[in-house]
Subunit: 91 residues, 7 copies
């Protein structure tokens, strides 16, 4: 089963906070109400301009309450609109 | 009787949660207030760009409170705007 | 007397729910607050693109609270904006 | 004294409900809060596209609370924006 | 001292209601909360399209709460945006 | 130290009301809540169209609550967006 | 680890107020609720027009509540949208 986001959305698998610890650094969202979160891009929407900027496998930082949550095969995923994608994280 | 959506809307037949169990996986919306849902596209609106991305028979994921409900021959359907279509699901 | 809607509006004569029973099916709006309704298009606005999609005599589905009600010769009519027209219904 | 509306507005002289009875029919707005009303166009704004659709002397249907009221020589008039003009009425 | 409005604004000197009595008619705003008012245009903004429609010395009708009040040499003036200018009045 | 506003903003040094008294007149904002104020333009943003209309040293009238206040070397300044600049004042 | 902002956002490292004291001046935001703050640009988003105006290493003034806070390697950073960047500060 494959989920293909429409338009300028991406499907992400959110990382547990402990998983966001990398070899070169740690990103910990602060405790503010609108804290950003990190996830791995599983699929990019049909928008060509977005496809030129975000790829499958990219690690992205997104605004926590910006997307829609879905559960698939027991795992939680999110569908995030471009306006809620803050940055791409490179290790 | 045929319902032909106008502009960028689609007519969908929502799937029961049990029906959303497929051979390759299960999608279960979480219990958040704005949980997305799954349906089969019965008809696509007159917008040509949308017609190039969504076809009759596609299984789509949509935001629950985004559309209008109608009942036809005892079955529930929904008319969903493009902005509430999150993704196409391929089995 | 003739009412010619301006821009992207249509004039419709709403159908009684019993009248919306057709040879091939019945559409019954659910009891949700924003239930869609059915009507016959009496006149289409001056917008050319809309005229290419909706014709006099078409049966349309529209969002209930989207238009303005008027009474003419004892009958109730509605003037509906394009954004509140959900679909065209073909028998 | 002449009032020339700017942009996409028209100056109308609202008709008393009794005056809206014509040889061929009667239009009576329903009792809903946002009931439309009828008036005679006294002057059309500077917008050329609007001038091609609405003429002085036209009888128009407009949303009641859409315009601004003024009184001139003891008579009440209204200045209505295009977005509040619903239709042109022909006898 | 000269005030030159920016963009699509005009500087007006509001007329006292008694002053709005002209040889050919009287305009008296009704008592509604958003009553329009009359003023003489002292200066027109930098927007060229507006300059082609409104001139210094024009008498205009504007929405009362649409502009900003300033006092200069003991007289009250208003700076009004184009969207709050309803009409030009010709005697 | 120099502050260079971005896009369509200007940096202004607000004038005390007593300073706004000039050889040819006095501008005193009224006591309304949204009273406009006067300032000297210290720097103009990167927007070229704005640069063609507002220069360093210009005295401008702006809506009081439209900008952001900063303090630099003990003096108060404001960064004002174009939409809050009402007019240029010439002595 | 590198954070690459998307579209018209920048990543900034906010300066402590004491750090914002420079050889040529001090900027102290006032105590208003929406006080602007100062930071060093660590990375500029993918938007080419923004890249022509803001560079890595620039000191910028931004609206305090306009961005999203993140913590990386024990330091606080912010991702700021262009609409919340008020000015570039040059020493």
């Amino acid at each position: 089963m494959k989920i293909k986001p429409l338009d300028d959305r991406v499907l992400v698998e959110p990382l547990e906070e402990v998983e966001s610890r990398t070899s070169s650094g740690i990103i910990i969202p602060d405790t503010a109400k609108e804290k950003p979160r990190i996830g791995i891009v599983i699929a990019v929407g049909t928008d060509e301009d977005l496809q030129s900027k975000i790829k499958e496998g990219d690690k992205i930082l997104f605004a926590k309450y910006g997307g829609e949550e879905i559960e698939m095969n027991g795992k939680e995923y999110r569908i995030i609109s471009r306006s809620d994608i803050l940055a791409v994280i490179e290790d």
